[in-house]
Amino acid sequence: MQLPLNEIALFMTDFLALFGVYLIVTISLNIQRGLAGIPQFGLMFAIAGGAYITGNMATRIAVWILGIKTDLDPVIDCTAVLSMVNPMLNTQPMTSFILILIYLAIGATFGAVLGLIQVAPAIRLREDYLAITLLAFAEIINVIATAYKPLLGGAFGVQVPSVYGWAGGYRYGVATLAILVIAAISYLYAEYLERTPLGRTLKAIRENEVAAASLGKSLVKYRAIAIVIGSALCGMAGTLWTLYGEYVTPTYTRFYWTFLPWLMVLLGGIGSNRGALLGTAIFVALDKLIIYYKHSFEAFLPFDVVWLDYILLGIITAIILIYRPQGLLPERPYIPKDIRKRIEEKIKQF
C-alpha cells in the first residue's frame, strides 16, 4: 500500500502544533501546581485571555507598524483591514517576525495580569477555597468576550493577521516550528526553575506552608510569583494558537483548556516535567487519532463521537487517580551536585 505522504505531513504538523501548545500549558500547570501547590482549576482564564487579547490587538498593531492609513475598525471590519495588511506582511518576513514577538509579549503580560486578578481574592486561603475561586473566575471570561463586542466582535470571533503568510505553502510548518521553539524554551525554563532557590522555596511551601512561613517565606508572595509565571506561559500558548489558526472565537472551554491539561499532567506525574511531556504526547496523539478516524466511529455510534471523548476521559481520570495517583513518570527529588558530592564523601568516611 502506498502511503499518502502529503496527508501524513499534514497530520504531523497538526499534531505537533497542538502538542506544542498543550506542552506550554502543561508546563505552566506543572509550575503552578507541581512546584507551588496551587490547585489551578482555572487554567482556561489566562489561555483564553492571551488568545482574545491577540484577536483584539493583533490587527491594530499590524496596521500601526505597517503605517497603513485607514478609518476602519480593526476588530469589527477585520476582513477589510486584513485585505490591506496581509499582502504587505507576505512580502516582509522580518516585520512578521517582529510582530510575532510583540504579540507574544502582549499575550504573556495580559495572561500574567489575569492570573493575578484571578488569584487575588483567595491568595491567602486554603487550597479548597483557592480552587473554587480560580475555577469560578475562569468561567467568566467567555461571558465578557461574548458580551463586549469591541473585544472580539461578539460570538462570531475575529480574524488576525497572517504572520506566517510569507512562508507560502510551508506556512503551517513554520507556525508549528514557532510553537515548538517556544514550547522547548518553556520546558527548559521549567527544568531550570526547579534548580533555582526560587524553585526550592516554592517546593518548600508546597510541602509545608507553616514550616516555610516560619523560615520567613511569604506564602502570598511566592504564590503570586508562581501564578504570574504560569499565567504568562498560558497567555503565550493562547497567542500562539490564535496565530496558528489566524482566527479566534470566544469558545475556549473548560474541558479542552483546563480539564485536558490537568489530565495530561496527572497521567505523566504531577511535578515532573518529563511526565508532562509524556502525558501531553499521549493525549494529543489520542485526540488527533480519534478526530482522524471519526468517520469510521460514526458508522456504529448513534451520537456525536465528541461525547464519547468526554465519557472516556472522565473514566480514565478516575482510574488514574485511584490506581496510579503518582503518574507514569513520578517526580524525582532533585539533589544539587555539590550536596550530592558531600553526601558521597560522608558515606565513604563511614
Partner: protein, 302 residues
Amino acid sequence: MEIISLGTLISALTWSSILSLMAIGITLLYRTTKVPNFAHASFVTTGVYSATIVSLMGFHPYLGMFLGFILGGLEGLVLFYAILEPLRRRRSSIFILMIATLSYDILLYGLLNVLADDLQTTYKILARMIYYSRLDFSIGGVPGVAVISLLALITTVILLYILLNRTTLGVALRACMENTALAQTLGINVSLMLLFSWFIAGGIAGVAGALLPFYTMCGPYIGMLYIAEMFCASILGGLDQIYGAPLGGFLIGFAKVALISVLASFVGPWITEYAPIIPLAAMAVALVLVPKGLVAIKIRRG
C-alpha cells in the same frame, strides 16, 4: 418611572430560591466530606432532563422534581461509592478528591449530551433548548415557578432541619460532620453516613434542576453555566454553615437579577449582559472580608 418592577422582583425571588437549592447541596457535602463538589453542575442538569423525560411520558414536567431527586441522588451515590470512597480509603488529599469530582462531572456531561442527542432523534424534540414556561400555571399573574421553587426551598430546609435535629440518623450524620474520628469510635458507620449525605445533596440538586426549565432556557451546558454562581452563593453564606446557603443564594440571586435591572435603568440595558460578574464580585468581596461566610459574623453586643 418606577425603579424596579414587580416582575423583576418575582424573577429575582425565583432565581434566588433555585440557586439556594443548588447551594445547599454543595454546603452539605462540604460539611460532611470536606470536598467542594464540582460535579454538582451535572447533578443539576440531570434534574433538567428528568423534567424532560417526565413530560415525554405524558405527565406535567413539575413532577420531574421527584425523578430528579432520585436520579440526582443516585448520581451522588455512584460518585461517592465508586470514586471518592476508594480514594478516601487511600487517604488521598482534598486536592485529589476535587479532581475526582471534576472528572465525574466531565463524564456525566458526556452522558447527558448523549441523552440529549438521543431524545432529539427519537422524540423529535429540541432537546438542547428546553423551556417549559408555556406549560407553567399562574396565580394572579405570578408565574407558578416562583411559588413552587420557594415552596420547594422552604420544604427542603424544614425537612433537612427535622432530619438533622430530630432523627437518630441526622444526629449521627451531624456527629460525622463535627468529628469523624470520634463518630467512628462511637460505632457510627461513617462511610454509610457520608453515602447518605451524597444521596441527599445530589437529590436536592436534581430538584433544583427540574425547576430550572420553567425559569430559563436549558441545555446540557446549563449546570456548567451556573456552577460558578452556585459556589459563590455557597461561599458567601459560609461553606461551614448549611443554613448559610439560602442566605447566600438570596443575596446573590437578588443582586444578580434585581440590582442589575436597577443599574440597567440608570446606565442602559447593555449592562445586563454582564450580570454573571456580580456573583463573582460578591464572592471576591466576601472572601477578602469574611472568608468564613456571612453566617459566621457575630453581632457584637454592649
